[in-house]
Amino acid sequence: MERLIRKGAEADIYLGELFGRKAILKIRKPKPYRQPDLDSGIRKRRTLHEASFLVDARKAGVSTPLVYFIDPDKAEIVMQYIKGKRLKEIISDSKQSDIDTLYSEVGRSIAKLHKDSIIHGDLTTSNFLVIKNDVLVFIDFGLAFSSQRLEDKAVDLHLMKEALTSAHSKVADKAFSKILEGYSEVAGVKMVKDLVKKVREIERRGRYTRVE
């Protein structure tokens, strides 16, 4: 029988079994506050995206849960259960130096995704699961899309940075620079330079610019 283990922002997460293995059922339940057409469109689209990018990310060399089953109309995905902790929890429980290698691994993995034109779209510390303190698994690909544009890659990194500075302000600078270090191992120093410049540019937009 399934048991609700987490209420995410978007979906309810159940733990159950499939052919004797532990499995996760992720259901994007209707949100009554949304106009119904808008709501069903979003839930269906994201379910499809999530399933296909979970598979694509694997091909790019980044660990993700295996997808067992998908029902877009009900906005349901059944996937492999990953026994691990969220990076968010690991950060709060450990000393900085102990997880430096994890941060570089995050950077390397993001770079691998980007290299294969995969933009995650929701890089936060609750969307990485860590098995036994060293294997990193990416989840939550509902906002993922395909692009090679520098701008889209930079927004991805900006989201990562935003998550760090808001929720982990004490370690944010160090963590982000470790992530960039890992990223450059895969994508090169020049690429990281261009991206950092773009991230700064993005961060200056949406500020107080009431020029009309």
Binding site: A9, E10, Q35, E162, S169, K170, G206
Partner: protein, 334 residues
């Protein structure tokens, strides 16, 4: 009991207010809040120079009225505070100039206040929120923030237009005078005909430029205004509700507080109240009369800052047009 005089002058509103503290700054009392709002002609946006001219004209009268209303003289106040940013340069300079002269003439400490933090502190004081996640929605801001380690940390914000800009710029296309929020809300309530517009959420960030472009084009092509207002609100507010829900699930806070000018919108309130309920969090909204820009937000925050010994020398009291709230060390909170 401390009394602080505050001047708001970041954009279209020039306002002065006097507030006093009860119990050493835990509770405040708004003794007066007098405003004058510059309205550009229908169909055109706020012009910084024009707005600042308006502010210069009304300033003496507004200062005077806010004192009279509070029944107090300037030499009785403990400090003078002003909105030092973020905002439109010419407008900010009017408020700063008035504040400097009052501080010099009456020999009062001068306290610079961040306008966004002003919205937040006033909303917290008026609603009694404890440790909320805050959605600040106005013409100048669209962001989600919560307090931690001495600062307001930004969990998400807009990547391009603010929600206020989206509403006003669409309203302008339809020939309304800015701010057009109330008018669009009224028209939206008359329709339930949904027209798809781009829904763009990236992590906890939003982008509204796609909605504006499409909605304008559809209007020019003769789509009816009521359906467009309805759909624009449904889509833009659902995006805001979603990013708030993400930040709420992530931070696991127990309260959601809605503030800023757009907080007055009933549909937005309804959506956020449902989001809060789903996560077992309380939902609070700033009272309507204090959702928009006002002197009270500056006076009250100025009072908190004054109690924490924050002040600036007149010669160094520059305005900062793009002063981010997460750059401010908030010494009066822990």
């Amino acid at each position: 009991m401390k009394k602080v005089f505050g001047i708001e002058s970041t954009a279209h509103t020039f306002s002065c207010s006097l507030v006093s503290s009860i119990d050493g700054g835990v509770h405040g009392q708004i003794l007066s809040d007098v405003r004058s709002i510059y309205t550009p002609p229908p169909g055109s946006g706020i012009h910084p120079r024009e707005a600042s001219r308006h502010h210069v004209e009304v300033a003496p009268k507004i200062v005077e009225q806010s004192l009279t209303q509070a029944g107090m003289a300037m030499d009785e106040v403990d400090a003078v505070s002003f909105s030092a940013g973020p905002g439109l340069g010419p407008c900010l300079r009017v408020g700063a100039t008035v504040a400097r002269s009052l501080a010099l003439y009456y020999k009062k400490p001068l306290v610079p206040v961040n306008h966004a933090i002003g919205h937040i502190e006033l909303a917290i004081m008026l609603t009694g929120a404890k440790d909320p996640i805050i959605l600040l929605v106005s013409g100048g801001h669209t962001l989600i923030t919560a307090f931690s380690f001495g600062r307001w940390r930004v969990f998400g914000e807009t990547l391009d237009l603010t929600i206020g800009q989206l509403i006003d710029q669409f309203g302008r296309e339809a020939g309304f005078s800015s701010p057009s929020g109330p008018k669009i809300e009224e028209l939206a309530e008359r329709s339930s005909n949904f027209i798809p517009l781009p829904y763009t959420v990236k992590g906890n960030d939003t982008s509204f430029s796609g909605i504006l472009t499409s909605a304008k084009k559809l209007l020019q092509n003769g789509k009816d205004l009521e359906s467009l207002c309805f759909s624009l609100q449904e889509i833009a507010f659902a995006m805001l509700a979603e990013v708030t829900e993400r930040a709420l699930a992530f931070t696991e806070k127990r309260e959601v507080l809605l503030t800023g000018g757009v907080a007055a919108n009933r549909r937005l309130q309804e959506m956020l109240s449902e989001v809060s309920k789903r996560h077992g969090a309380g939902f609070l909204v700033v009272p309507k009369e204090y959702s928009g820009d006002c002197g009270a937000q500056i006076a009250w925050t100025g009072l908190l800052a004054h109690l924490a010994d924050i002040s600036v020398e007149v010669e160094k009291s520059f305005v900062k047009q793009s002063w981010r709230l997460d750059r401010v060390d908030v010494k009066w909170r822990d």
